[in-house]
Each structure stands twice: as structure tokens, then as C-alpha cells.
Symmetry: C2
Subunit: 707 residues, 2 copies
């Protein structure tokens, strides 16, 4: 049994299962000591005195202890599970019915020192990266990826499986575990219903914090992204309206009679091959090369971003005021999470690396075809300053009081769709060798998992131990030939009554996704996310086929309705499979040609016969090779609704050629992204956005109608 005791020094609750008391005794103590929530502590003991504790435990006069634990012990302590309130409906109501633990308490439970924490209110906190240094000799825990089969447009519950799994591991199997989740974009929160905090009894709480501003990371990304955009257009204007000399005297002004280059200007000079440090030494040609980025307005690839579903910003013309002197040009806003800076946040391993990646971001090209970077604009340092807090992962908790890192949420189509490397690394140290870190990849396994392995793991150097592949009877029926599934429309009858044939046929997709994971040498546990309309025969069928298809285990999960208890079987399977040896490998080598890398993914993962490059795509590949970008990994921008590029093709499509329409590059993030079809990077609001139902009670401050 798990018992709360008080740390004598800091009045924060910590947990121990050393001493036991009955529920009734605790209740009585609590009632007579209303200030001392929830328990008390009387005697101080030293940790080694286990016998003494056990003896005290039998002493009816003792009802609690003060326990001085050295901080180093805390990362091994078993966390306290808090029990969800039952009998409430709706995700926000379930979330609100649960009082979260103070975040400082959770931080202590997971082994953080007070100085490693920056609380943001009482339910969320930033964690310092210095932790990585302190725990550098701590072995990593097990690394579990939650991926999914090709989903319906409704999603199949990867987030809830992730949360249910850590709740089961922590609160029920008593294993240290951490969930690492993506931060959702705030924009869609006010569009169509549906949150990213999980749901039911497998949620991150408070869910409104998770879904709204959180600790401001996306706002920081927006500010940094848009500073780059403002710098680009202002620079184009200033270059268009000033002589070389005027530009030079402004860019390198005389301050108290002295002119000198700033460090970032020195770096540009070096890139230009000008090895001079005295501004008066430059020749007119060198001055011209230095002051003129000569950005081609037609070839600016950097776009502004906003964290709002604002469809009218999909194509806009900027610079139409008189003050911009005729330099108007057409451009667009993307949703903030589509910013390359978000992808950098997700892939970086620290401040120095982030700063370097920000500086390398290519924002467009000059009229003579040279890539122009954030470093060329002189803006790198300011971007790093704007992002200095965002780089720290945010600690929150599940509905059962187990720890969660929320950090970064890059778009899963034009970027890699995985939460941050840093959060995973911190969590793997915190859980320790016997612990588990469960992280989630966006979309189906053919996209999110492939990018997790080939991009994220390659960057981080981390090796995954198990893939949990989420399936639903609903999605399998769709793959087996069931009618269309559309958001906002009632499900056709095939999905709410037993149909074993559809399920059996649809398992082709499940089998293929298992095989994809095996290409990387990682074992698979299939988690069947059970709905109340699923029959036992359907569930058994899926599990049988999954195991026959090579899954190490296949189990049903009921976390939505039962919380961690509903995922104990999954947790046990994951624990068992994680202890087996595995043979992780990448699917391609970075040194393969860009075309080879794309073809490998298309054929081995998607099942395409071949790829077909448009002339634009071929020209871009030539350009990237020439610029030395050819050795980057590939981040496919493909629909998630089919293994192929055709969303309507369910199951396992074959006999198709994957068309590569265009290719782009995120040089700072460090990948090349081929576009297969058109990716929308700005959602819109429907006729009746869900904000019609959202409100704030001015007295209780409770939020209504959010999900």
C-alpha cells in the first residue's frame, strides 16, 4: 500500500510505501486535522531503519511518520496514485473533478531538485536541462513508442493509450514511468471539438491548461518565427531603397567614433570568404556582398505563423501600405506548430545546438541562388533569447497523478510529428533503469513511427525497446471495406454491430504496420483500444490475427472508462517485451542519395512500386545536393489516411507509384521534406465553431464546454 508522509523540512508531501496504515485510520486522522492534508507525521527515522519502521507500523499509537529521504532516493520512489473521481461525464468534467497534486510535490516524487523546477502556477512547471548533467551517469529506462494503424478521420486513441499505459505502469505495477506528449496547437481548440490531452479516465490534467497557453512555448515560437519574417521583409525594403554605402553605414554604425562588426556580422563575413575584421578595410565589392542579402522576393520560403485557425490568412498580400514603397508580395500564414522552429525545438539537444540550428534555418534564396539564413539576417541570438524558456520541457500529470512531460508539437505532415528529444532524454534519466518512458508518434505508424525512428532516434541516439501499436475495431472494419467514416456524422451500422468479416479483412493494415516496425528490428505489442460497441469475438479475432502476424503480444485496453486499471494487461505485456533483446536499425543510410532514401520509404514502408519525381522535385534535389544538404534524413509529407498517397485507399494498397510533387527543406531542423500531394498548413473555422459552447464562470472560474 502506498502511504503519504510529510517531509519534515519542506512540508511537501512525499510518498513512501514503507509504512502502512489502514484507510480508516488515515481517514480519521484527516478529519481531526483538517489543516494537515491529508496525513500526518510524527516520528523521524532514518531510512535504513526499515525494521524500526515496520515495528512502528504495528504500533497503534503511530499514525504516520516524518521521513527524511536524501534527494537521490527520490527518483526511485514509487509515485502516489490519485484515484479519479467517478460518476462525472465529459472530459473536462472528469478532469475538473480530480484535484491535481501540487506540481512541486510531483516534481519531488520523480526526483527533481527544487532548483531544477520552475513552477508555472500549481499544476505545471518547467524543468531545467541541468538535470541531464546531474543524472548523466544514471542508466536510461526503457523507451516505448506508441504508434497506430492507419486511422479513421476520428483518430484511434494513441494519446489515451499512452496515458492509460503510464497510469497502469506507475500506479498499478509500481514502476517508475513517464509519458512524453506533444503540446497541442491552441488554434484548433476553438474550431472543431476534440482535444489532445487524452480523454475519459486517461487524461492529462488540468486539461484546459494542457490545451490552452500551457507555459507559453507555442507563443514563443510564434514570436521567434514572426521576428524572422519581419526581418526578411524589412531587409528587402531597406536594400531596395538604400545605396550600398548607406546600408553599410547603418549596419556598421560609428558608436562613439568607433565602427565594428558584431559577432554575427563577423560570421557572415567568414561565410562570404572575407577575412577582415576592420570595417574600413572592406573593398566596395566586399561591402556590397556584405550588405546585400539580395533576397529574391519570389523565393522567400519563410512564412509567418499564428496559433489561430484563420483560413483567410492562407494566401495574402503584404506590404501594401505606402510606407513599404511598392514592395508588396504574396505570402501566407501557417498555423504556429508548422513553424520550422517547432521542429527544431522537438529535435534539439540543448541551448547551444538550438542556437546553431536556428542560425542555419534557410529563409529563401538570393537572386543568384544562394541560400539565405537566419544568421545572414543577424537574428539568431534574438531567436535563442525568445526560445530560452521554451526549450525546457513542461511537467504535468495524468489523472492518476503520474508524471507527464509535454514538450513540442511539430506538425505531423510537413514535419516529423513527434514530441521533443529533450523531454524523452530527461524522462529516461528520471525513471531510471527499471523505469519506462512512453512517447507518442503522430498519425499512423507508416508516418509517425517511421519518422520517429529515422529522424528522431537518429538525432537523439536513443534506441526504442518496444512499439505499442494502437488499433481499433472501428478502423479495422474501415480497412476491411466498411463504409466511409466522417467526423460529425453518426457512424454507419457496420461499426456498431458485430462484423467479423470486415474485422478480419481489415487486419491487413494492422499486419502491414507490424511488419513496418519489424523492418526497424523493434518488437510490437498491439493495444486494441476497446469501445463499448466492440464484441468479444471481434476483440479476440484481432488479438489472434495480431499475434499470428508477428506481434509479441496483443491485448485489449479499457483506459478510457477505467483509467490505469483498464491498461494493466497492456502494461504487463509491454514490461515483458521490453526486457527482450532487440535489434534496432535505421531503414536507410544518410549517405544514400535523396532519391534512394525516398524510394526506400515509398517501397518498404508504403508498399509503392516506385516513386515519380516532378520536374520541380528533381530540380530541388539537384539544388540541395549542390548546397550540401543531400545527406539529411527524409521527412515525408503524405496523407495519414492511407498507406498510399490516396486517402481513399484503405487496407494495404499495392501497385501504385508515389508521386513526389515538390521537395522542401528545413535545414535548421535538419530534414528534407518531399510533398506527396497538397498539405494544408492552416486549418479553418467551421460554420459553428465549438467556441459557441465554451464559457468561463466568472465566480467559480470554471471553464465550461471545452471538449
Amino acid at each position: 500500500m502506498c502511504l503519504m508522509v510529510k517531509c519534515a523540512l519542506c512540508v511537501h508531501l512525499i510518498y513512501s510505501d514503507i509504512v502502512q496504515r489502514s484507510r480508516e485510520e488515515l481517514k480519521a486522522i484527516r478529519e481531526t486535522n483538517p489543516g494537515l492534508k491529508p496525513t500526518l507525521a510524527i516520528i523521524q527515522v532514518c531510512l535504513c531503519a526499515i525494521e524500526e519502521i515496520l515495528r512502528l507500523n504495528e504500533d497503534s499509537r503511530v499514525y504516520g511518520i516524518f521521513l527524511h529521504l536524501p534527494q537521490s532516493f527520490l527518483s526511485k520512489s514509487v509515485r502516489n496514485a490519485i484515484k479519479p473521481q467517478k460518476d462525472v461525464d465529459g472530459d473536462i468534467e472528469i478532469s475538473r473533478a480530480q484535484t491535481p497534486k501540487p506540481i512541486s510535490q510531483l516534481a519531488q516524487e520523480v526526483g527533481l531538485l527544487p532548483e531544477e523546477l520552475e513552477a508555472y502556477g500549481n499544476t505545471k512547471a518547467k524543468v531545467h536541462l541541468s538535470l541531464l548533467n546531474r543524472l548523466q551517469h544514471q542508466p536510461n529506462g526503457k523507451y516505448v513508442l506508441v504508434a497506430g494503424i492507419t486511422p479513421t478521420p476520428l483518430g484511434e486513441g494513441k494519446s489515451t493509450v499512452t496515458i492509460g499505459l503510464v497510469q497502469a505502469l506507475s500506479a498499478h505495477l509500481k514502476l517508475n514511468s513517464f509519458a512524453c506528449l506533444r503540446q497541442p496547437s491552441q488554434g484548433p481548440t476553438f474550431g472543431v471539438k476534440g482535444g489532445a490531452a487524452g480523454g475519459g479516465y486517461a487524461q492529462v490534467i488540468p486539461m484546459e491548461e494542457f490545451n490552452l497557453h500551457l507555459t507559453g512555448d507555442i507563443h514563443a515560437i510564434t514570436a521567434a518565427n514572426n521576428l524572422v519574417a519581419a526581418a526578411i521583409d524589412a531587409r528587402i525594403l531597406h536594400e531596395a531603397t538604400q545605396s550600398d554605402k548607406a546600408l553599410y553605414s547603418r549596419l556598421v554604425p560609428s558608436v562613439n567614433g568607433v565602427r565594428c562588426f558584431s559577432p554575427i556580422q563577423m560570421a557572415r563575413l567568414q561565410r562570404l570568404g572575407i577575412n577582415k575584421s576592420d570595417p574600413s578595410d572592406l573593398t566596395p565589392e566586399e561591402v556590397r556582398a556584405f550588405v546585400r542579402l539580395d533576397l529574391d522576393p519570389e523565393k522567400v520560403t519563410w512564412q509567418r505563423v499564428i496559433d489561430t485557425n484563420d483560413r483567410f490568412l492562407r494566401k495574402i498580400t503584404v506590404g501594401q501600405a505606402n510606407t513599404e514603397k511598392g514592395n508588396a508580395r504574396q505570402t501566407q500564414f501557417d498555423i504556429a506548430v508548422a513553424s520550422e522552429i517547432m521542429a527544431i525545438l522537438a529535435l534539439t539537444d540543448g541551448l547551444a545546438d538550438m542556437r546553431a540550428r536556428l542560425g542555419r534555418m534557410v529563409v529563401g534564396s538570393s537572386r543568384n541562388g544562394q541560400p539565405i539564413t537566419a544568421d545572414d539576417l543577424g537574428v539568431t541570438g534574438a531567436l535563442a533569447v525568445l526560445m530560452k524558456d521554451a526549450i525546457k520541457p513542461t511537467l504535468m500529470q495524468t489523472l492518476e497523478g503520474t508524471p507527464v512531460f509535454v514538450h513540442a508539437g511539430p506538425f505531423a505532415n510537413i514535419a516529423h510529428g513527434n514530441s521533443s528529444v529533450l523531454a524523452d532524454k530527461l524522462a529516461l534519466k528520471l525513471v531510471g533503469e527499471e523505469g519506462f518512458v512512453v512517447t507518442e508518434a503522430g498519425f499512423g505508424a507508416d508516418i509517425g513511427m517511421e519518422k520517429f525512428f529515422n529522424i528522431k532516434c537518429r538525432t537523439s541516439g536513443l534506441k526504442p525497446d518496444v512499439v505499442v501499436l494502437v488499433a481499433t475495431v472501428r478502423a479495422l472494419k474501415m480497412h476491411g471495406g466498411g463504409p466511409n467514416v466522417t467526423a460529425g456524422v453518426p457512424l454507419p451500422k457496420e461499426y456498431i454491430s458485430e462484423n467479423l468479416q470486415l474485422v478480419a479483412d481489415g487486419c491487413s493494415n494492422l499486419k502491414k504496420q507490424i511488419q513496418i516496425a519489424h523492418l526497424f528490428g523493434v518488437p510490437v505489442v498491439v493495444a486494441l483500444n476497446a469501445f463499448k460497441t466492440d464484441t468479444q469475438a471481434e476483440i479476440d479475432l484481432v488479438c489472434r490475427i495480431a499475434e499470428a502476424s508477428g506481434a509479441s503480444a496483443a491485448v485489449q485496453c479499457h483506459h478510457w472508462s477505467r483509467g490505469g486499471r483498464g491498461s494493466v494487461e497492456l502494461a504487463q505485456a509491454v514490461k515483458k517485451v521490453a526486457s527482450q533483446k532487440n535489434y534496432f536499425q535505421f531503414l536507410y543510410n544518410l549517405q544514400d542519395s535523396v532519391v534512394e532514401k525516398i524510394r526506400t520509404i515509398a517501397q518498404k514502408v508504403y508498399g509503392a512500386d516506385d516513386i515519380e519525381l516532378s520536374p520541380e522535385a528533381q530540380a530541388k534535389i539537384d539544388y540541395y545536393n549542390q548546397q550540401g544538404f543531400g545527406a539529411l534524413p527524409i521527412c515525408m509529407a503524405k496523407t495519414h489516411l492511407s498507406l498510399s498517397h490516396m486517402p481513399e485507399k484503405k487496407g494495404v494498397p499495392t501497385g501504385f507509384i508515389l508521386p513526389i510533387r515538390d521537395i522542401r527543406a528545413s535545414i535548421g531542423a535538419g530534414f528534407i521534406y518531399p510533398l506527396v500531394g497538397t498539405m494544408s498548413t492552416m486549418p479553418g473555422l467551421p460554420t459553428r465553431p465549438c467556441f459557441y459552447d465554451i464559457d468561463l464562470d466568472p465566480v467559480t472560474e470554471e471553464i465550461k464546454g471545452l471538449f
Copy 2:
């Protein structure tokens, strides 16, 4: 005596004097409790034993005390002053050289309960509005406004005077005091050098937190503002492309076979005079009136905002993508602090009032001339949810460890340019009857102070006790006929050598601003912000003329170089004048006609002979009167560089007619704003933005080059 002691339980510093221990005993305790940094405190006593404390104070064996103070005592406690590190140059270096007190400690010192605080890291925290309820019977402290003479483009140091004054009051005169400051816009931080955190030894620290994201309020405003904008354009598109019936079935959908209006839709029905609650009861005409806001795209007044200096967004065309089906229109982005939501944040007195104001915001008008509000769009509740944390003021500290509220920062030209009513109210309760709250108004007194009295005090019901009017020899010389002062250009010699004639002549502006304050019945203390180039004769001359012009006192201040010590004389003068009776009154009645109100301000404050309305302005007045908006106060949008509308006219211009070019209204914020000339609401980046010098050290995490 002011002594730091530790609370035995919570390791937070509190104040005390009651119990003693020998140095040896304390040392022993300390050694056996290494967690208890840095001192002392052993015995508990009761507060009434003042004599005992004083006796202990003389006892050389005692060097610390534990004191358990009831929380209610804490708001009267004297704060602990921290001494600035000297011998560092540059604002950020001075800021960084000082280690701020933990914000939880400061909160406790000023009398906040732990549950009233939400820390955001260790140097800033949000304060709950519930405090107003807890301290409702506490008398308010003195209320001091810092305003200025008509400034040069460089600014004359109102922020530093404000901070220097509270440092002197708190740390030197031992009076409870609070500074209330505006949150600066982040955009300009990366444009032209110059922060809003004060400077030198009169700063808010950490200044980089103050100037960057802070606690996310401006980001929240941006999100809320842009949700309204997205809702407007999406609604125009949906109305343009759907029949009444389709709109109605989407806006009032059948959920599980039941259709019903949401509360915000019921409110719209009532405004339309339709007293029905069953969606099936509406006639086709009523359906049409309900579903069609019929916004005239030409008459949308709501604009998008962004907290970046992005001049290319001053005039843009949105909606050019095919998905927007030809509904492109021209619009603009403003800097975020220009949002009406910022003005609402500054004027609201609580959640219910904020929600109501957000709902009343007029975003444009329908084709038949009816104002359309956020309530009509159905977005009010979502806005309140986005703003739920922003409504709580942020607690920070000065360089000397005295408390500061940072909250709201509405534009000083198109809005009222004052920090929030709520921060002032909280601070007035916290300092108690003998304490002081010092708040600042933007621009010169003719603008910021006039709006402070006529708009902010009228809204809040608070009565100011003293005006501190900031003057500099530099600005007075400019008013006396000195050459132009331009940012970024060295000052002409008149400004760096003695010139008594220019000073004497320029005091006309100072005298006029004193008279303006007296119109409102509030006494004036002139604070001459001394520069090292000022001569004693110049300083004495200004003080003499100021007192002869009716100022209750006129003193020189050296807070920039000396911190609070440099403003002790000012603090003493303010303390003295604040104890005198005053006769505060408004300049006009709300029931006066709009034209009368504008004329009163133009004549009595600016010294104009009369006003002249453009036909547009006259038409707007007629429209506002017809809509029932005529009884709102007036928020003049005028240049701050002259008492007149002509920036080049210094001193006290006379014989001019004030032209009213146009008139707009912020119905949610609650004022009408006549435009005198063209106000830029989007700054730009110069050729060499200051981001060239800004950087982050990846190892120390120190910021370089910010101001």
C-alpha cells in the same frame, strides 16, 4: 530593525524578533540541518512582546529570531531591502548583477497568502483577484500618479522616477509601497534600443523577463484578438456561401435528435427581439435575422494583431486562396498592445466585468448599419477563457527588492496608456492606509494624466492623492527653443552645456502641465530627473520656477545612478503632500455631448481655441449618439510631442484649432477616441535592428545586448 529569519516549517523567509538563541546553538542547528540555509531562528514568541524584541535587539548573542506572524499582520510588515551590486555598467548588467529575492518570499513580505500566488518561475508570479475580497475592509493606501511634461522623442524617465520613488519609499523611508507599471510590448524590444523596465539603478528585475514573454498576458491578448478576427472572416465566408436554412441547421444542429440554442445564441435572439427558445418556432424571417450577421466587409473595424514590429502588415489583403472563394478584402495588423482587449484588461475590475466588456466589443457593422459585437459572433466565452490568467496582475520586484505589479499596457495614443485598474486596487489594499502606490501614465501629462483621471479613475472610482510631474533639463531646453532632439543622433551642444535662458523659457511647458493637474484638483510634486550634464544652476532654476508655478514641491532625483537613495528627497516630498487634503474632480461630465467633451479637453488641456470636426467625424458622432454610445468618456488620439496636434510646436502653443480627422469607438473598453492626425499602430524594424547585438550564452544562459 529589519531582520531576515526563516520559518522553521516552510523554509521561506519571514520577519521576526521574538525569540533568541545563542550563536552557538544556531550554529549547531544549522550544521545538523544543512538544508536550512542560511541562518537561524529558534524560538517562538507572541507578537505583542515588542519590548522584548527591542531588548533582544541589543543582545549581542542574538543574531536572529523566528517569528510566527498571523498572515493578517504581514501586509503591514516592512519589506526587506536588497542592496544593488555596484560597479557594473549597462542596464542588463546591473539587472543581472542583482540576485532577485525568491518571488514567494516577496509575496509573503507584502502580505499575500500562498494560495493567492501562482509563481511563474522564481522571479515572477500571478496574484489572485480573491485578495480583493479578503482585504475588502482594509483602507486603501495613498495613490500617486507619475506623469511628465511634454517629452523629447527620447523620453524623460517616468518609469525610472516611478521605480526610484518606490525604492526610496520602501527601502529607505520604510513605508509600504508598490509600483504599478505597464507591461511593454515585446515587438519593439528587437527594433530600436530602449526598454520599459526603467534603467540604471531604478529597474524592475530581471529586466529580460519584464521585456520578453513575462507571464504571457500579451500572448493571450493576441490569441483572443485573432480568434475574433478569424471568426469574423469565416462568418462572412459562411454567410456568403450558404442558404439561411443551411446556416441555421449548422448553427443550431440536432444533437442526438435535439436542437437547442446555446446561451450566447439565446442572448442574440433577445437582442433581436425574438422571445423564443425552441429552434423550431422561428419564422423564416426570424431565422434569417438570427443566422445572418450580414457584416459589411467594408465596415469591419476589427483588426488582427501581432507582437512583432512587422511593417509589411500595415496594409494587407487577406482571403486570396481559392478556398475563400473570392472573399478577399484589405485589412491590417496592429501591434498587439493596440488591441481593444488590452484596453479592456487595463480597465476591468474582475472576471464578470471583463467577460461582459469582451462581449460588447463592436467589430464592425452590418450592411444596414447595425453594430455587430463579439457576442453576435458567439465568441465571448472563448475570449474570457483565453484571458482567464491574463486578468491576474504579475508581481515582480525592483532592483532593491520592493514590490512591483506589472499589468496591462494599452497603447497611449489610440487607447488610454495606463496600467491596470486591478493592479492598482490590489496594491492599494496590500500597502495599507499608511502605504503608497505609485502608478505611471504614458506620454505627457496632457495625454496620459488626463486619461488617467477622466477614464481610468472614473472607471475605478479611485482618487489620486498626488501627481509627480517628471521634467528634465533637456526637455525644458527643447521647449525653450533648443534645436531638435532626434533619437540615434548625438545631442546638440545646447543640451550638454549650461543654458539658463533655454531652461527658463522652456518652463512654460512645465507650468502648463502643473496647471492641467490643478484643473483636476490634485497637488503636484515636480521631479527633476537629473542628468550628469545638468548644472546646479539649471536644476535650481527649474525647481524655483516649478514652485512659483504652483507645484507643492520640486526636487531633483538621482535614482538612475544611485537607486532609491537618489530619490529620498522626492519620497519625502510625496509623503508630505499626500497627507494634505485634495479636491479631485473630473474635467467633464459623461452626460455632456461628445462635441462638448472633446472641446473641453482641447481648450482646457491643450490650449486650443476650438475644435474642427471633419464630415466623417461628425457623421460618426451622429452614429454613436444614435447607437447610445454618446455617454462614454473621450480618449484623445493625439501626438505626445506637443500640447497641440503639431509635433513641432514646443512650449505652450496657442491660437490653434484642433482638427478632429475621424472618430472611433472601443465599446468594450468603454471610450470614444477622436483621431487628431494619423496614428501609426504598427512600428517597423530599422535597417540595423538591435537584434544584431542580442545573444544568449548557451552555457551560462545569460542574455547579452538586451538594452
